[in-house]
Each structure stands twice: as structure tokens, then as C-alpha cells.
């Protein structure tokens, strides 16, 4: 019997500091046993439990794309016991990973549609995974227009700056990068909150599906913008967070009504959430 609580051993291959406040680091992890990589077959929107012996586990969205072979990437905010410890680990250290866990973005439903990606702050990780996945040549033709609104408080708090600049150069994806404010005279992108920029840049909901991931305040103000544009709640897709332990719908803490965010989620449509108790 497979033990779903047992992490695969991995080695930290590379650590990148993402933001100017140094609170976010991206960890590139490599499986110690190559056969485990095959077992860890994931799709964008899923997450994993990262395991640090002696400290515990923490559920983190997978930031790499399944089209990137040989490693996994996780961008981790320094918050609690496990993530503080992770931020002090170094390349070469051994840790564990359990997953992939949860559902994913609705890839079948997204095929043939315009995809609008709206992200804020450090909640851009599984959206990064999705973008990398969609712009891969074999996958790109499955989707119509891809638009991305991504904002952070300042330029220095944007994740994956090197890739954002690359994506800006491409003509098969429309990028709308924004910051709440900046005194950088060389800043060449937008200034304004994510909901405002969404309102300005996204012009149609026709045949479109929106993936929204960000802080609660951003979601709160983006939702009416999307509804005004004509997005039905079935086509507004959100990824939720909740305190988790087991990650497989057994330990009982991450429920919203009869749904477990870890197993039935973390991705829900707004239509699904409207039918569940407002407790998340």
C-alpha cells in the first residue's frame, strides 16, 4: 500500500531571492531518486507539501511547469516555522516533497478559449506555471488570446522579473504589468491597482476564462470588474489557501462546507464558491 504521507527525498539545487524585501525565495528542487520524478506527474494549479525533517510540512503551489523537466520550483514567502527555516537552508540541502496534491486549473475547459490571468503579489506562482505551460509551442495553439495582468506594490516586489521582461517581448501573450506606485523614472509598465488595470486592459469576456490569484483585497475588487465585463461566475476561477496538514482530505481542517481545499480544491470557480458557506 502506497503511503500518501511519505515525502519523496529531494535536494535543493538552486535558491533565488525574488524580491527586494528578500521575503520571497524560489527553490529549485531535484529528486534524489530519479524514479520519483515520474511518480510526481503534475499539472499547473496543483500544489505540494514541502517537508523539512525536524520542522514539519508546508503546502505550497507548484511554480514550475510540467513542461520544465528535471526539477520543480516553489516560490516561498517567509512566514511561519517551516518557511523561516527553509529560507535559511542552502543549496545542496536535503528535504522532502509530497504530492502532487489538489485539483488544478480547469485545463479541459480552458482549451479553445481566451485566457485572462490576473495575479497580485506573491500569489503568482501557479499562474507562472500556467503561463509557461501555455506558451510552450505544442500547447500554445490550444488557447486563443492570452492576457496577463500582474501587479505588486512596487517593481521590486514582482516575482520572476527576468521572465516578465521576456514575456513582454513576445507577441503571443499580452502582458499588463503594473505596480501600485513607484519612484523609478525608468519604470516602463503600468502604475495602478490590479482591478483598475484589469478594467482598462481587458475589454471582453467573450469566450474568455479568468484565472484570479492574489490577496483577498485584490480578489474583492477584481470580482466586480470581471462581472461587469460579462464574465459569468463559472468562468471566474480562483485558487484558495487554507491551513493544511495532510493535503489529501483526511485530517479534516481545510474544509469549506463539504469540500476540502486540499483535495477538492485548491481551485474553485466563483460559481462553486457561491454555493458553499462563506468561511475561508
Amino acid at each position: 500500500m502506497e503511503n500518501p504521507y511519505l515525502p519523496y527525498p529531494v535536494r535543493i539545487d538552486e535558491i533565488t531571492t525574488e524580491t527586494e524585501d528578500k521575503n520571497l525565495k524560489t527553490f529549485k528542487l531535484v529528486f534524489i531518486n530519479p524514479e520519483d520524478e515520474e511518480k510526481f506527474s503534475y499539472i499547473p494549479g496543483q500544489f505540494a507539501e514541502l517537508s523539512v525533517a525536524g520542522k514539519g510540512e508546508v503546502p505550497i503551489g507548484i511554480a514550475s511547469s510540467p513542461t520544465e523537466k528535471g526539477y520543480l520550483k516553489f516560490t516561498i514567502n517567509r512566514v511561519g516555522l517551516v518557511t523561516k527555516h527553509l529560507h535559511n537552508m542552502k543549496e545542496g540541502d536535503v528535504m522532502g516533497i509530497r504530492g502532487p496534491l489538489g485539483n488544478s486549473y480547469p485545463w479541459d475547459e480552458m482549451e479553445g478559449k481566451n485566457v485572462v490571468i490576473i495575479g497580485g503579489g506573491f500569489a503568482f506562482t501557479t499562474l507562472r506555471s500556467s503561463i509557461v505551460y501555455m506558451i510552450q509551442p505544442e500547447n500554445r495553439k490550444k488557447f486563443k488570446d492570452i492576457s496577463v495582468v500582474y501587479g505588486a506594490r512596487t517593481p521590486g516586489l514582482l516575482l520572476y522579473r527576468y521572465e516578465l521582461d521576456q514575456w513582454e517581448q513576445r507577441d503571443d501573450i499580452k502582458m499588463h504589468i503594473t505596480v501600485d506606485g513607484t519612484d523609478d523614472p525608468d519604470w516602463k509598465y503600468n502604475v495602478g491597482f490590479v482591478p483598475t488595470v484589469t478594467e482598462q486592459k481587458i475589454t471582453s469576456a467573450e469566450n474568455a476564462i479568468a484565472l484570479v490569484c492574489g490577496p483577498p483585497i485584490m480578489i474583492k475588487f477584481t470580482q466586480p470588474v470581471l462581472e461587469k465585463l460579462g464574465f459569468p461566475s463559472e468562468r471566474i476561477i480562483l485558487s484558495l489557501e487554507m491551513r493544511m496538514k495532510c493535503g489529501i482530505g483526511i485530517c479534516g481542517r481545510c474544509n469549506i462546507g463539504d469540500q476540502y481545499v486540499c483535495k477538492d480544491g485548491p481551485v474553485f470557480s466563483l460559481a462553486q464558491l457561491k454555493e458553499l458557506p462563506n468561511e475561508y
Binding site: 525533517a53 525536524g54 514539519g56 496538514k245 495532510c246 483526511i250
Partner: protein
């Protein structure tokens, strides 16, 4: 399958004779409560009880259980690699479990053994366990098993059932596993019709002694969001002191926490029973807590048992009617009352 008769002395002697083949757990009287204990030569089991204070759930799902272990010693070639803690799943028999508590294990089983994931420790331990029930001649005034799909002599989830006929036990195997166990004991005599009829009559009369009930018939049809916003939750939760006694005693509560514990350079990953009554249960790293208020936590407990479970599994409520939470709640919050509020709720 063959039903047998044992005198009470023979029964205990036979169990003691089988204790090398099985770990046998039996109810033992303490000052004012009964608890399951491992049978040894010295054990004096006592079958004169209404129910044990705690259900024997912990024999399948221990209150604290080592999952994994690891070394943090850098000299160790496998440092930081998490490995399964070796466990034995020696055959065990729980003798004297009440039918409600066996029913409860069935209700919990759907959580630990589901089509997508199997909790290996729960599954293996339940497989290696024989449940020998003791039917209830004298149900408690707080028992309401008959309204939640059970009964004082319900065989649901049991391998064997005992009928206490004063000086003898009528021992009736229900499953193959149960019959094998009884045959291993090797004693007793065949039950004759007179005793079988007597057992049946007694079981029938005890059914009438369960006078308490909860209404559940309309729960499935309620709109979950409306029930969630119902006005009575504040009142239900008002007296609650969040002590967690209800979740600790409940034979159908399954929530657990996972923690790492380190001593020197050796560490263990352990799971412990947890409780939705604690604000820490859902406190997130950011400080956000979806159930920071007492009322939200009390609502979660009842909604889980009487609505979410009902909707999810379509097999009744997550309650076997043992009545422990009713008896032991220090502020008299009564699930029978809450079930009525929920079942009768109309917006």
C-alpha cells in the same frame, strides 16, 4: 455460523487462553468509569457498564501515533530523509465494544479509506482487528442510536456480538473473521433454542428502552448556505467554553494534526488527535483565521456531523448516537437539541 454459549468465567478464561494469538482489549472498571485495557493474566475485566468513558477508537486510530522518523546527524548518509516508522499490525480483538462504537468506526472508515487515498495505518489496523460487540441490555438515558441507523444490538461493523444473559454470554459470530476468532477460543457449547429465544426477546425489549432520538430526515434537503447562516448558531454556541471534550470523546471525530518532534539528532513525525474547537486548528501563517470565533467553531462541529457529512457520503449523519457529548459537556450543549434546530430550520 455457530452461536455458542459461554459462562462468564469460561468466557474470560477462553480469552486469556487466546492472548498469545491476539492482543485482546477488554473493559476494566476504574473508580467511576470503564476503560479498555490489554488483557493479561492479572486483568479482571468487568462487563457491568453502560458504556466505556472513551470509545475504543484509539485502538485503531491512536491519540498519538508515530508516522515517520529521521536522523538529523550530518554524518549519517541518509540524514534528513524521512522514513516510515516500523509498526506491527498484530491481530487484536476488542471485546465488549458497544454497537454504537463499532458503528462509529464504520462512519469514520469512509474518511480514512476512500477511493482516492488510503490511510495505511488505519486500514491495516482495522483489518487486523476483530470487534466483539456487547449488546446493550440497559441503554443510557442519553442514547439515541436507534434514530441514526444503529440500535442496542445492531450488528453493523461487528464481527461477533455478545448477548449478556445474566450468568452466560450468548456469543454470535457475524463475519468469517469473527467465527475464526470464536473457534480459536475453542470452548463454549452450542446455543440451544431456549437461550437464543431469550437473547432475542431481551434485545427486542432493550430496543424500547432507547427513548431518546434525533430528527435527521430533512437535513439532506436543506440548502447548506442557508443552514450555515441560520440565526440559532450564536445561541447554540453561547455557553460553549471550547474545552474540546465533545471532540475528544466522540467516536466519530477523526481530525488530526501532524507535528515534528526532535530529541538530539533524532526526530519523529507524529500525528495527534486534533479538535475543531481550538482556534489553532485553522490559524494560518499570515494570521488569518477562517474560524477565529467560538461560534464559527461550534457551527463547524455540528455542520460537519449533521450536514456536510450527510451531503458528502449520502449515508446518514456522522453520529452513532452514543450520547457521550451530551453526558460530558460541561455546559450542557446537546446535539439532540441542535439536530432538531437544524432539521426543523426553515428560512
Amino acid at each position: 455460523m455457530v452461536t455458542k454459549i459461554f459462562t462468564k468465567e469460561e468466557w474470560v478464561r477462553a480469552l486469556k487462553g487466546a492472548k498469545d494469538d491476539y492482543r485482546i482489549y477488554l473493559p476494566v472498571k476504574h473508580k467511576d468509569f470503564h476503560a479498555f485495557e490489554l488483557l493479561s493474566d492479572e486483568t479482571a475485566p468487568d462487563f457491568e457498564f453502560q458504556n466505556t468513558r472513551l470509545s475504543p477508537k484509539s485502538l485503531i486510530f491512536p491519540q498519538s501515533e508515530r508516522m515517520f522518523e529521521y536522523s538529523l546527524d550530518e554524518k549519517d548518509g541518509e540524514a534528513h530523509i524521512v522514513k516510515e516508522t516500523p509498526k506491527d499490525f498484530y491481530p487484536q480483538a476488542v471485546v465488549g465494544i458497544r454497537p454504537c462504537d463499532a458503528h462509529a468506526l464504520q462512519l469514520v472508515n469512509v474518511n480514512f479509506d476512500n477511493p482516492q487515498y488510503k490511510d495505511p495505518w488505519w486500514v491495516k489496523r482495522l483489518e487486523s482487528t476483530i470487534l466483539v460487540g456487547l449488546g446493550c441490555n440497559e441503554p443510557c438515558s442519553t442514547c439515541f442510536c436507534t434514530s441514526v441507523g444503529g440500535g442496542p444490538f445492531s450488528e453493523r461493523g461487528l464481527d461477533v456480538i455478545l448477548h449478556d444473559l445474566e450468568d452466560v454470554f450468548l456469543v454470535k459470530p457475524i463475519t468469517q473473521k469473527g467465527e475464526t476468532f470464536i473457534n480459536k477460543l475453542g470452548q463454549g457449547r452450542m446455543a440451544d433454542d431456549t437461550l437464543s429465544d431469550k437473547a432475542e426477546a431481551k434485545a427486542r425489549s432493550s430496543l424500547e428502552k432507547v427513548t431518546s432520538s434525533i430528527p435527521t430526515g430533512k437535513l439532506r434537503d436543506k440548502v447548506v448556505t442557508e443552514l450555515f447562516e441560520a440565526p440559532f448558531w450564536e445561541e447554540v454556541a453561547f455557553a460553549c467554553i471550547n474545552c474540546g471534550t465533545c471532540t475528544y470523546l466522540c467516536p466519530t471525530c477523526w481530525c488530526f494534526d501532524i507535528q515534528d518532534e526532535v530529541l538530539g539528532k533524532e526526530g519523529d513525525r507524529i500525528r495527534n488527535w486534533d479538535s475543531c474547537m481550538s482556534p489553532l486548528f485553522t490559524l494560518e501563517g499570515s494570521g488569518h483565521n477562517p474560524r477565529s470565533e467560538k461560534c464559527q467553531r461550534v457551527r463547524q462541529r455540528f455542520m460537519h456531523k449533521l450536514k456536510y457529512y450527510v451531503d458528502k457520503y449520502e449515508d446518514g449523519v456522522q453520529c452513532s448516537g452514543c450520547g457521550r457529548c451530551v453526558r460530558y459537556c460541561p455546559v450542557n450543549i446537546d446535539i439532540r437539541h441542535v439536530a432538531k434546530l437544524m432539521n426543523d430550520f426553515a428560512q
